[in-house]
Amino acid sequence: MNHSSSSNITCNFLTLASDSKKRTMLKNLNLPLISGSVTVRRHEFCIAFGQFKSNLHNAFCILRVFMQRCLVEGRQQNTMEHLVEIDNLTFSRGDRVIYDGITLNVPKGKITAVMGPSGIGKTTLLRLIGGQLIPDEGDILFDKESIVSMSRKALYKARRKMSMLFQSGALFTDMTVFDNVAFPLKEHTNLADDVIATIVALKLQAVGLRGAADLMPSELSGGMARRAALARAIALDPDLIMYDEPFAGQDPISMGVLVKLIRELNDALNLTSIVVTHDVKEVLTIADYIYILADKRVIGEGTAQQIRDSDSELVQQFLNGKADGPVPFHYPAPELEKSFLGERK
């Protein structure tokens, strides 16, 4: 009874898999770095296939994830949708206004970059999308649902579909790299330990750290820590992944690796990515759409080419890194002569 029904399921599963999966696989075959994450799926149903005995439940889980993925893919081919829509958002911290009525859309399946000078509150934007902060005005829609007015329970459910790569990596320092990546899987799924071990190994393979699984985070270099955190961020196959300054403080090699990973993960796993950064050069090479924030609002948007061609003085200052311009070199202060000569007695 148990045997026959479980083999039935796996058969269905295989036929479902074959059509749309082949396409993705073929598409990804020329991307050697990412081959690990392609095998994620192949391996997932290998496991389902192999464990007739007791893994009926696991097969269901994988089937469900897979069918969701198919639905997402199907929907996406029809129209160009926005996964995140920010509408007229105003946010202030204390007396300091950080955003004053910004509107911003993140198209599904694309890499959207948000750039701007330091201290503009770019990280704040990601926290707002993640529902960790509540805006003063305006709305944030994630997958057509308002993050702002969500109940706590719904918010936690929505967060399972997004993940965030923090600037510091934010790996749990008391666990090995393996346990870090396994953490979201253990928290949110009931998969058996050996299945989790397989998935973790494949995610780590995708970021090139399978050999470092047993290291503690303190033993990793900065670039490796960020890659390990990336493996953790994709562990649950999220829809949206947010990168907070992924290139900050990286040497050219790890920067190159990260740029490549962000692009390839986005395409291979059908993710939607938001990259918050001030590294102009790297972002222009990978981003599909770019927003530039400054002075509490959006000062420029468009594809990489449109941004380069922009005639806004502010945008050009930012792109070319000029010291002085619309964004002043000096922090607001009274004139130098006055403060030396005037106020003194």
Partner: protein, 258 residues
């Protein structure tokens, strides 16, 4: 005028801090404990309990020994050295056990809890938990709270027992008080409910206060190195003061009114 303003401002900020602390505790405890989380509590019991065991046992031994030594020199003048047993036992069970354990616990485990949670906040681990749809209050705060609540009364009982043995060591084996009278007069004086259970109740209250302060200070700390060092200091200072103040209140309630 300025004095009034600063007084008002500090009162308001203290009150909001108490409010935030209550909300945090409530948020951590409102969750039904899941079977999945029991290993987390055990892990934390190891960190706050087992790792404090050595300092607690050594302090208990020495405090018991010193009390026997001091008590003997006074009691022997009145020929009442037989009362050494109850003197050591009662002061340990009623006061020193719970209080000294709480003070040592605040210094040893409380400061570590604050620093750990503060650093988790500073390195964005708490945020990243939240973004992974895992509530840090339940995953990080609650197990540490329960471990503290369990560990401290356990440590206090061990402290008192070892102290009484230390008193025996000095009083009986060294100074020559009769072993039989050490135990028998102690037995006739010490009451299970009145002394032992009340002592345990005291240390449960202290556990609540110390663990709560430690966790809240870490959770509420400013995530910079300066902020965390300040939070750690405040944990030790505030919880020590709270323990000593509460001890007076509890003693008055339990033993004061005949």
């Amino acid at each position: 005028m300025r004095f009034l303003q600063s007084l008002g401002a500090s009162t308001i900020s203290k009150l909001t801090a108490i409010g935030r602390a209550t909300l945090m505790l409530f948020g951590a405890l409102v969750a039904v404990p899941r079977v999945k989380n029991i290993p987390l509590v055990i892990q934390q019991l190891y960190v706050v309990g087992v790792q404090s065991l050595l300092i607690i046992m050594v302090s208990g031994l020495f405090i018991g020994m010193v009390m026997a030594l001091q008590g003997y020199t006074i009691l022997v003048d009145y020929g009442a050295e037989g009362s050494l047993g109850p003197m050591v036992a009662l002061s340990l069970l009623r006061e020193l056990g719970p209080v000294v354990t709480a003070l040592l616990f605040a210094g040893r485990a409380g400061s570590a809890l604050t620093a750990e949670i503060g650093l988790m906040k500073a390195t964005e681990q708490l945020s990243s938990l939240e973004m992974m749809a895992v509530d840090p209050l339940r995953r990080i705060v609650a197990p540490r709270f329960w471990a503290g609540m369990l560990a401290m009364p356990m440590l206090a009982v061990i402290f008192s027992a070892i102290g009484i043995l230390g008193g025996h060591l000095v009083g009986v084996d060294w100074l020559g008080v009769d072993s039989g009278s050490y135990w028998s007069i102690m037995q006739s004086t010490v009451d299970w409910n009145q002394d032992v259970i009340n002592g345990v109740i005291k240390s449960v209250v202290f556990a609540l206060v110390v663990t709560w302060i430690a966790i809240f200070k870490g959770y509420d700390s400013i995530p910079t190195s300066e902020g965390i060092s300040k939070a750690t200091t405040e944990t030790v200072v505030y919880s020590s003061l709270a323990v000593l103040g509460l001890d007076f209140v509890l003693t008055a309630l339990m033993f004061g009114i005949e």
